[in-house]
């Protein structure tokens, strides 16, 4: 029912409801009146027959008493007053038939042998009226009248046609009335629905529904408008907040950018400017060692060596810092790179630099990657360097490079690190091992992380002390 009604508009539903209600009402009323008419007609029939029987009673009684058959025949005929009566039979005290109405007529219905076979009442579509005739408490005869229901039925039939006509007229009139009246209800609703739809479509919360009545729909319109008001207000607030936030973000971004640039410029200039004094220190220390070696005793020479080593380390540090700052600023140019080849190349270089440190390296063949090859080479170089570096003390150093489900990894079986400090791994100048244990500036992994970050990827590591480490990274596709 509801699923069928779903497809109709409120207008149609209202009209339908009104029509069906009226229809049901008229039909019910018709049925009621037809039932009433049936009872009424039957009662009337019974009443009429009872009355005429009473009227003829004394005549019949006298005729029976004096066995006057002519008078009995007259009485029978006069009782058979119209077509409603099928037959009138008059019996004497011994229940033998004495007279019947219009014995020769076409519609002659036979008289029953025993008029008392059934009591008075409706029998099989007929009404039987049985009246015993008494004289001085002695039954001297019986009047039997059989009436048909033709009149009653025609009356009911007339009522049925009347009801059909009334149903037609009432339906037509009420359809017209309903069509006019339902507008009073549906127009405000459909206007409201239209407004709501156009708001939903256009997102224009400045629209308002027109209020045309003070009933529930009017209340709904008011509530709807209030809701719109609230939404509009909130919208405006949100808009102003958004603008404010955006300007704030812009401001902060600009500030941050400026600060960053300043910082980078500072670190770059510091690194750059530190280089020439450092070169001077190293150069003059070397000059001292070469030109005045014979005038200096061995502790002095040792000190000079240390000055040189320290200044060289500082040089490396500064180089690293410059790398880092270059990595940060350099524009990224991506193309598809044969990553396996790059790794093998880097591994070869590293092995060439340290021929004494034998490491078994395996590189998964056929890996390719979309990246900036120069920057990615820095990543691979740093990670391979680290792997070589931390496997220095391993008995059978092994390093493998590969890729699984878009995640690149480089694994070694070296010293590893404590996972508790994993978050410090990629910070600048953060070192998990002492300089005595393993060489390093603490800038390498920071540079690696910066490059991966600039490629839109992610880098992380897993390790256990003395069980090796695995570095994972991704690049955005």
């Amino acid at each position: 029912m509801t699923s069928i009604l779903r497809a109709f508009s409120i207008k149609q539903k209202l009209t339908m409801v009104m029509l069906l209600t009226i229809f049901a009402g008229v039909v019910l009323m018709g049925v009621f009146f037809m039932g009433y008419e049936r009872i009424q007609s039957r009662e009337q029939l019974v009443h009429e027959i009872t009355v005429i029987t009473k009227v003829s009673y004394s005549q019949v009684a006298a005729a029976l008493e004096f066995e006057d058959l002519n008078t009995l025949q007259e009485s029978a005929n006069s009782l058979d007053f119209d077509y409603t009566i099928d037959v009138v039979c008059i019996y004497d005290g011994n229940l033998s038939l004495q007279a019947r109405s219009f014995p020769g007529s076409v519609r002659a219905t036979p008289c029953p042998d025993n008029p008392h076979a059934d009591p008075s009442g409706f029998v099989q579509g007929k009404y039987h009226h049985i009246e015993d005739v008494f004289s001085e408490s002695v039954r001297i005869g019986t009047i039997f009248i059989s009436a048909n229901m033709d009149y009653v039925n025609s009356q009911i039939q007339r009522y049925f046609y009347m009801m059909l006509t009334a149903l037609g007229i009432i339906s037509a009139v009420s359809l017209l009335v309903a069509m006019v009246l339902q507008k009073a209800v549906t127009t405000p609703i459909s206007e409201l629905a239209q407004t709501a739809t156009s708001i939903a479509n256009d997102r224009d919360f400045s629209l308002r529904a027109a209020k045309t009545s003070d009933d529930e729909i009017g209340q709904m319109v008011d509530a709807f408008n209030e809701m719109l008001e609230a939404i509009q207000q909130r919208d405006q607030e949100l808009q102003s907040h958004k603008v404010e936030l955006e300007s704030k973000v812009e401001e902060r971004t600009a500030e941050l950018k400026a600060a960053n640039q300043e910082l980078e410029a500072f670190s770059y200039s510091v690194s750059h400017d530190l280089r020439s004094p450092l070169r001077a220190i190293d150069g003059f220390s070397q000059a001292l060692l070469e030109d005045y070696a014979d005038q200096l005793d061995s502790p002095a020479l040792g000190y000079l060596e240390r000055v040189r080593m320290a200044s060289q380390r500082m040089g490396t540090l500064i180089d690293s810092m410059l790398w880092l700052s270059r990595v940060t600023r350099q524009e990224i140019v991506t193309r598809t790179v044969d990553f396996s080849l790059m790794c093998e190349d880097v591994v070869q270089d590293t092995q060439d630099r340290e021929p004494s440190h034998k490491v078994r390296v395996s590189v998964q063949p056929g890996m390719s990657m979309r990246c900036d090859s120069r920057l990615m080479r820095i990543v691979v170089t740093n990670l391979v360097d680290n792997a070589f570096k931390y496997t220095q003390h391993a008995s059978a150093p092994e390093v493998s490079i590969g890729c699984k489900e878009g995640i690149y990894f480089i694994r070694d079986n070296g010293a590893g690190f404590d996972m508790r400090y994993a978050d410090k791994l990629f910070g600048v100048f953060q070192r998990l091992h002492s300089k005595d244990e393993f060489e390093g500036t603490g800038v390498g992994l920071a540079t690696v992380a910066r490059v991966i970050q600039r490629h839109g990827g992610d880098i992380w590591a897993e390790s256990e002390v003395n069980r090796g480490a695995i570095f994972y990274f991704t690049v955005s596709s």
Partner: protein, 157 residues
Amino acid sequence: MTSVPGFGEEEARLKAAFIYNFTKYVTWPQYIEQAGGALHVCVLGADAYFDELSQLAGREVRSFKLEIKQLKPSDPIDSCQVIYTSGVSLRKFLPQTANLPVLTISDEPGFVDAGGMIGLVTEGRRIRFDINLGRARDVQLQISSRLLQLARRVESP
């Protein structure tokens, strides 16, 4: 005794029934009606019907109870309310009833014309009757219109 053979017994029964039925449609003056009690049906001369008529004794009509008496021609008739007579001299008998509220019935031909009230007539196997309404009215006997309707002939002044 009768012209139709084999009808005698039936005829007597019918006549007795008619006499009883007449009493239902005839109203005597008020003093008799209110007194009630016995309604005397006297039989004068019609000895042949007495047996049949005497069976009516004890039958009830309104507040009356029928009593059957056999009269001799010399007996007084003022205690009778109905007299059924047959085979007696009407000229001698009828004047006696002239001022009495007595319903006179007879099967004598010409009884009604002679001044009797109800005359029974045998027609084939049926019995009909004539009524002299004037005579009945003279002595304050009321005859029901129902009975008049059934009469073959009604004499009225």
